[in-house]
């Protein structure tokens, strides 16, 4: 059921409120343009706000993201729609687009919520916490995560039993079950696509046993265990809560693999795995960490030194892709691989396996445009019409692309790309106005 259709107009529409979208929006707003960020999640900050540290400097990821996110939220020139999706964009005139945005109800009046978490305590429903990548549970009335922006509760209506317990305890009476979906018709002059990427789902490789064997996690789940806002305050394997001694990283899970339809390198897995290995050496000084790789691609500034540093710290690097994984009775895992340097097939036992999952395109943006069909590249990332001279341009005039929507890249490159994209958008706006 739709509520009323509302109209609004902005200079720029930024689709996606991750680090690239946020950076692009800030640049535009600082130049005096009115910007709307549409974010489908309940908080802006994207994937970066959930990370532990960044490579190769080991700076705290949240400590870089949160000030940026606050700046975006407080900026008078930026409007943010969270929990919202762009349904369609069509060209209205030579210089403007019309975007239809759907805002799903949060069932909480954001302006009144103080983030006191009383509703969370009162709510009787427990479900998997998607922001902790299912490592722990959360309530159906919940604050997405502690450093979320906006730090406002939301009701997960799909799991809510409508018991009303949250309503009773809310001190500001901000819970409102009568909220309805809102549809906005928005006039914009330019669009920046910053829809980011999806992580590879390792269920697509059944021989690795993710989802079947208890002590196999994805790199994002390990990232959460290492982050400042981590769920356990230590590293635990999920099967039995044991602190692991022998941790294995399986690189190229879902990257450089035609059998899962993704032949390209994800560009970040080598480095984030090396980063996590170094952090694990700090968190669990007695643990052995082994990284199984095809090639270590440490191509960026400071990356090779970072790789050497990991080797120096005692991280074990083994050249050979993991072929299959089997589980022992005690929950330990046997990894079968060919040691390429020795030409010999081997099996090794580990008590926790981390699958370094790759970067997949977020193909949602393809369906956004009615006319002037948005072109994608052969790997379904947004196609760069002129990658050398004008890397942010897409196949549609006035629509730009930022960050991992164009292809796999790390955080500094995403921010660079967002900078380029906003610069292009600003010159486009200045030329047309």
């Amino acid at each position: 059921m739709h509520g009323k259709i509302m109209n609004a107009s902005f200079d720029a529409l930024v689709i996606g409120g991750g680090i690239a979208g946020g950076e692009a929006a800030l640049n535009l707003a600082n130049n005096g343009f009115k910007v709307l960020i549409v974010e489908k999640d309940l908080s802006i900050g994207g994937k970066m706000i959930l990370l532990s540290k960044v490579f190769p400097t080991l700076d705290c990821s949240a400590c870089i993201t949160t000030p940026k996110v606050s700046e975006i939220s407080r900026h008078p020139g930026i409007t943010i729609f969270t929990g919202s999706e762009v349904k369609s964009i069509s060209r209205k005139s030579e210089t403007s687009f019309e975007a239809v945005v759907i805002k799903t109800p949060r069932y909480v009046i954001g302006e009144d919520c103080t983030g006191c978490q009383l509703c969370e305590q009162a709510c009787p429903v427990l479900v998997h916490d998607q922001f902790q990548y299912n490592l722990v549970g959360r309530k159906a009335a919940y604050i997405p995560f502690s450093i979320a922006s906006p730090r406002v509760a939301a009701i997960d209506i799909e799991n809510c039993t409508l018991c009303g317990a949250c309503e009773k305890v809310c001190p500001t009476k901000c819970i409102d079950f009568t909220q309805e979906e809102e549809e906005y018709c928005i006039d914009v002059k330019t669009v920046i696509i910053a829809t980011g990427f999806n992580l590879f789902d390792p269920l697509k490789i059944p021989r690795y046993g993710y989802g079947t064997y208890k002590n196999i996690i994805t790199s994002m789940q390990m990232e959460r265990q290492l982050a400042p806002t981590r769920p356990f305050n230590t590293i635990l394997r999920p099967g039995d809560g044991k602190v692991p001694d022998r941790i294995a990283y399986v690189l190229c899970t879902g990257s450089r693999d035609m059998t899962v339809g993704n032949p390209i390198c994800s560009q970040i897995c080598c480095m984030y795995s090396i980063k996590q290995a170094q952090l694990l050496m700090g968190a669990l000084p007695m643990a052995d960490v082994t990284i199984y790789y095809i090639n270590i691609r440490s191509f960026g500034k400071g990356f090779e030194e970072f790789y050497d540093q990991a080797k120096g710290m005692g991280v074990n690097f083994v050249k050979g892709k993991i072929g299959k994984i089997t589980e022992n009775e005690n929950g330990n895992l046997n990894l079968r691989y060919e040691d390429i340097n020795e030409n010999v097939v081997r099996e090794s036992e580990h008590d926790l396996v981390v699958l370094s999952v790759g970067v997949l395109p977020n193909t949602d943006s393809k369906a956004l445009f009615h006319d002037g069909d948005l072109k994608l590249d052969p790997f379904s990332f947004v196609d760069q019409a002129d990658p050398l001279a004008s890397p942010s341009k897409t196949s549609i005039d006035g629509v730009f692309v930022a960050g991992t929507a164009t292809g796999p890249m790390d955080i500094p490159d995403s921010i660079l790309s967002a900078g380029a994209s906003s610069a292009e958008a600003i010159s486009y706006l200045n030329r047309r106005l």
């Binding site: 035609m258 059998t259 993991i322 072929g323 299959k324 691989y337 060919e338 390429i340 030409n343 097939v345």
Partner: protein
């Protein structure tokens, strides 16, 4: 210093190999292979050798024969380099390498030459029958004698020297010291592998494949024994007659299944068929079928009026015995079992 043959990859494509240059050496194929062990890790090493053109290393390797082509490596190859089919191509190539006459190589590489060979064999049978004035009794009698002579000659002059060549390439040339006693103690393995192919049970795919192969070997050897040593077509013993029927039925039923696999192309191992694969399975099928019908016609008294049927059977037999057995896919029966034997005595 290892000699590199830069043309090797091109040569191997004649034997069915695919884009093995796509390999980026991740070792996934070796890791998913259930027959790969610490002592004998394959197929990646063979892919690497093929890419580099290290012919001598492949020639002296038994690894291609240790693979029974379940196809897991090809299914899971992240580069779609098809290591399973490469191993199959290497087996074809090795077959031609062991052959001192070099005729295998010619026939494997050239389908027209193979067809010419088959036509010459057919014409030979016709000329022979004409010389015999199409007298069935005498043709059948001489056909039987031909079988015995052909088997002895093919073994003595072609297959035995080839096995010795294989031995030379694998044991003597790389200067591997093997005590004489090992040759004797390993002999049991040779016989076991020759008649049971038990190693292929280690493949992940299924036991049915092994069973089918096992009974077709029994059927083939059984039919050979019945026709050659018990002289099936001229024997009146009920037991022998029934035995021959049973063996020929086994052959044509199982080969029908093998052919339908190659047509359906669902299993990894039957996706890519070379002419040599087709001829092997089709001729085996025709042998079983024609032998069955010939004996049926003998038993129903129709053979006198249908001498063409026996001539057709004889043609198949001659083509099989003179072309497919010595120079074609049949030889895997020997090379595979001797590979297991050499692997055993080397260790």
């Amino acid at each position: 210093m290892a000699a590199i043959n830069p043309e090797f990859g091109k040569e191997l494509k004649n034997y069915g190999a695919f884009d093995f240059n796509a390999c980026y050496n991740c070792g996934n194929c070796t890791a998913v292979c259930s027959l790969s062990t610490e002592e004998d890790s394959f197929p990646r090493e063979m892919v690497r050798f093929s890419v580099l053109g290290l012919e001598d290393d492949i020639r002296s390797s038994l690894k291609p024969w240790l693979c029974y082509y379940c196809g897991e490596c090809s299914t899971h190859c992240p580069q779609e380099a098809n290591p399973g089919e490469l191993m199959m191509s290497l087996r074809r190539w090795l077959t031609t390498e062991y052959d001192w006459t070099k005729l295998s190589g010619l026939l494997y590489r050239s389908l027209p030459l193979t067809i010419i060979g088959f036509i010459i064999a057919a014409i030979g049978v016709l000329i022979f029958s004409a010389l015999e004035k199409f007298n069935l009794q005498s043709i059948m009698h001489k056909g039987h004698i031909f079988e015995i002579i052909a088997i002895a000659a093919v073994f003595g002059f072609i297959l035995l020297p080839n096995i010795i060549r294989m031995w030379w390439l694998i044991i003597l040339k790389p200067k591997i010291k093997v005590p004489v006693i090992k040759y004797l103690t390993g002999f049991g393995d040779l016989i076991v592998h020759m008649f049971t192919q038990k190693r292929s049970l280690g493949c992940d795919d299924n036991q049915l494949r092994w069973f089918e192969h096992f009974i077709i070997v029994i059927g083939y050897l059984g039919l050979l024994f019945t026709t050659v040593f018990l002289d099936w077509f001229s024997n009146d013993s009920l037991f022998v007659i029934v035995l021959g029927y049973a063996m020929s039925i086994i052959i044509f039923i199982v080969t029908i299944d093998f052919m339908s696999d190659r047509i359906k192309k669902q299993k990894e191992m039957s996706k890519f068929s070379q002419p040599s694969d087709w001829m092997f399975v089709v001729w085996l099928f025709l042998m079983g079928l024609t032998a069955f019908i010939v004996r049926l016609f003998i038993d129903t008294g129709l053979i006198e009026k249908n001498i063409w049927l026996y001539l057709f059977h004889l043609t198949i037999l001659v083509q099989w015995a003179l072309i497919i057995v010595p120079f074609g896919k049949w030889t895997h029966f020997l090379y595979r079992s001797f590979a297991m034997y050499f692997a055993k005595i080397k260790s």
